[in-house]
Symmetry: D2
Subunit: 349 residues, 4 copies
């Protein structure tokens, strides 16, 4: 065990943090050596998460750069918005590598961050340094990076479903409409009436239409792929389930292309990338088919009557949408096979 | 009780049939005098539906026009596609009034029916006779009709959300995209792997993209409202809940109109119609807020960045999307207040 | 409307309060004239409960005896433990009739209340005055009472399933074990991690074994039925659903009696009481079969191998376990038919 | 890969079969070399289970001893009751080792099997040969066995919670009452109205009281532990969730023993067995805390008022209750560490 890469997790009392613990437990080359919490330092993590009984019984560490530096080589930040903007620079300064799962370093423009997140932005020098880790699109940038900003859950499902078509100019980017649906774990562990069981069960809600903080992140990447500014219509819905995101995406097809053409384009674009699975014609992925795994599954339907394509993309929001992709980025950063420790078969049913 | 209108229900062993029984139990001017089933005639309905124990204990009647005529004045057909096309004419011939909850008489073109339903269409004379009972849009046609074709669940939620804007020319009908989501009861009581609990729970599925048999019904009404042919993109999703439909609808706004403008337009269009509730600006309806009731709640968001409107419309698929609207049509047909027996408060939570 | 009995509801921002509003909306002889809230007075109730949009739009009243007295004849208290103990006497003093849905007046011994509820008990004079309204058991006491203490949800399901057998001496009361399971709405609308959606969904929890505050209430009635002190083993479980309670109860049968014997005993005991439905031999009730209704359904299995009976009793915790039984008590108190306004068919599915 | 133990799975189109595939995918010393199906031979398994897309794409093999023998060393039978009774002898005859997940070889008495399963029993010679693989109780018998009968899901949760106390004489075995609750995946993938989504969601059902086929299996082991015949009261309930079993067990405590005494007894009994986790006093396990893992978590409450203990034991029915324990038995059979390939952290939330 001594030769494994040492990992610290900050924010170990949220769902992103415990999912990192779950996934890293079977990583062959890395091990979690410190789990920290500013609010619960000194208590065992299994107290708040009894499913970790007998698995991780050590006490939660304090969140100070020195403590962490003494125990770890790489830090995952699974903290709410506004924490990493202050903490990441301190960790980088003491020589730690950092993978931030929050939104604090995804947008390169501080103004854009402040507009959508309603919080002070991070220091611009660090914003520039942070590599946006959408692994299948920007994976090459991740190699050898010291600071990675892990994409959001909605952007991951959405962008993996749109980038190849936008890049290739097969759809009109000005017509893109994204109807996204998420399980409730994406909202985290903080309690509020909006996530109270009796309010959510047997209920379907739409929320934050065109106002979700993931909008600028999606548009940033689509604009990059299109080579020109793209704005989109983006809706989010809360579905009565714990895990899973589905993005149903609509756009006008440019040229006379069939679903099969798109399937081949995407298979070619994602060749060699194990975690994106392009479904055969006539087959659409459902969220349970990726539950607990790092896969992103994508299906297509082209409607000749309207000239539009519908693209359906699904992920597990806590894995490919958070902890799993973060580990994938760790693998890429270290020059390892990106699938290390992530070759889980989805849990079905 | 003797002076109440006598109602027969055909197809009493499905969810539409028992929902009619539930709702009609508190109707002040109508009463169910015969529940029939071709497959289970002679057995008590509470055998298959123990929740009716002590409420309806009589035996299921046979489905013959004469038997029904002897017991009832009006017949509700809550049967699978392909049954009413044969049965309704026989019932009408013996002088019964008929409200058909299936899709057999919604499309006026036999060819269109056969293309989308993959079954032989009903006789054209009866297709012409059947009044399409989207109550808040075609209510005037329903009065004094002898034969009503009750709209589908998806079309009801969708059309109530689109018709005023299309009619008024406030949105471009060629840009309409409909992302619809439904609870599982819409699929009925017939068992299949696709509705097996372990396959549906904690899962979100897309299905029948642009192929759902409700597409032509939606386009028929939108074309009527627009005064020209309209084709739409229509997606359906299965949500892990029993009841509820949400249609999230997208279109390009014509002219410079705000969400508040749309709210006022819709409030004016639906004035005096108790079952459509237009939500105030900034508020979006969720499916649980209409659970068990005949309401259709509609909310709006206009995005200046893209020039598009997003309209969110929700119903209980078994009430406003089936049994409730059928009773509303009965009320209109009889010249009664349309809300009779339907003034249920949604069951929350 | 002017001649209807006027009802005020205190605690209108909880689930018990809105369920009273839902049920009373169709009561033929009573109407809600005031909904009050200490925390939200002055705001419309539909703000916190959008499902009431267009149904109840008036502002919430303040909770003062004078305000209430000016508007109502009878008050329902749907407040957390510890509120009614102070408020009920004030309301009674100004001449209002009171039906308390909380636990504050169920236990006649202040010491017992303080031991199990960990709060100061109500004044003993009022404890004596309050009639325990388990309608099918103590209904006669309710008639003409001015102050009724409505039973708890678990006790209602449990006691209706046990009282006839205990009273008749057909089971050994010292062997009674109660394994109760509840949907989450029983915990109310107050948020906490224990009722956070992602913690409850796809999860089954046991809690408060032998420590639930409903234990002494159950034992009070069983002791009364047995004519001697009874102590029981009582377990509670949280089931991932919103509504419904099931009590599975075990006891040793005295004498050689079959399930059919018990069925006949219970049918005889509950003769004329519409809301208790005794199931035929071999049939066990499920919670959905009473969803949204005031029924309590009971089934039996006797095991010759062990000499034990298993009794399964189900209710909707918000209806027969709270608001519905409170209205049933109102009906009894007023000398009306106990089923007035409560003849709902369960919502299935 | 060449040196790994080769595994065939029979019954790969059920939930037990795909769970074996999921778990074995990360086993360091074994690999699945053949997946078979009598009904779907010749089609890819990912056709029926799209979550296996890109993971297992080979065609399903036929179920013949020769075919299997050519590809595998050990066979897991994940087949419905009545299949293994015929198939296992054939597989053993050609020299394969067999682990049967069905109930066909658990009961040593053919008469008992036929009484509870209503099917012809297996050949008595093979019944004798099959080792009952309740790993933490009979693990020693498993070592070097060629034929293992894997315990049922309910018996596993129940027996791990009862055996130490019964063996030690700390509870009166004649007083044992077992109230068990299961998620729906335990019923398998075969469709029927009883497992139709709309019938199960938001519903809690009791079924097969004292008649479940797992009763004799439980009593067989309890009798062995007690050294005398034990009969029990055993109830089963269907909970609206996919995975998870909870057994809540009641018995009279012999002698003056506290919960802490039982905790220490169980910790001592299960010392060194990683998959049983005894919870500290005051803590009760919930099913989600073992979701997707091979753990069995057990908690205790002793009630001085009644002299009874309540024991709560939880497992994931598809892992510790089926595929996981089967792999644990494989590990024991091969003389490996029993945790190989099974060190999953539960998926939470």
């Amino acid at each position: 065990m001594g030769t494994k890469l040492k990992i610290a997790i900050v924010g170990s009392t949220g769902y992103g943090g415990v999912e990192l613990i779950r996934l890293l437990a079977s990583h062959p080359l890395a091990e979690v050596t410190s789990v920290t919490s500013s609010s619960s330092a000194g208590t065992p993590i299994s107290q708040g998460f009894p499913h970790l009984t007998g698995i991780r019984e050590e006490l939660l560490d304090d969140v100070t750069p020195e403590t962490i530096k003494a125990k770890a080589d790489v830090v995952f930040l699974a903290t709410p918005a506004g924490v990493a903007s202050k903490l990441a620079p301190q960790l980088l300064e003491v020589g730690l590598k950092v993978i931030d799962l929050s939104g604090d370093y995804r947008l390169k423009s501080p103004g854009l961050y402040e507009e959508w997140y309603k919080k002070p932005a991070a220091d611009e020098r660090y914003l520039e340094q942070a590599v946006f880790g959408l692994a299948e699109v920007y994976g090459d940038n991740v190699r050898d990076a010291a600071f990675i900003s892990n994409p959001g859950c909605y952007p991951t499902a959405t962008l993996l479903g749109l980038v190849p078509a936008v890049k290739e100019g097969w759809i009109d980017p000005s017509t893109i409409i994204i109807d996204a649906k998420s399980g409730v774990s994406g909202a985290g562990r903080g309690v509020s009436l909006g996530y109270h069981y009796s309010e959510i069960n047997e209920n379907l809600k739409a929320y934050k239409l065109n106002k979700h903080q993931h909008v600028p992140e999606i548009e940033m990447v689509l604009s990059d792929a299109a080579g020109k500014p793209v704005v989109t219509t983006f809706s989010t819905h809360l579905v009565p389930m714990t895990r899973g995101i589905m993005s149903t995406m609509y756009a006008t097809v440019l040229g006379d292309r069939s679903a099969q053409d798109f399937i081949e384009l995407y298979r070619s674009y994602y060749e060699g990338r194990r975690f994106v699975r392009i479904r055969p014609e006539g087959e659409l992925p459902s969220t349970k088919e990726v539950w607990g795994s790092n896969y992103c599954d994508i299906g297509f339907a082209v409607d000749k009557r309207t000239g539009r394509i519908t693209i359906v993309s699904v992920i597990d929001n806590l894995v490919k949408g958070a902890a799993g992709q973060a580990i994938q980025n760790l693998n890429l950063m270290m020059g390892w096979d990106e699938t290390l420790g992530l070759q889980f078969v989805p849990a079905y049913p």
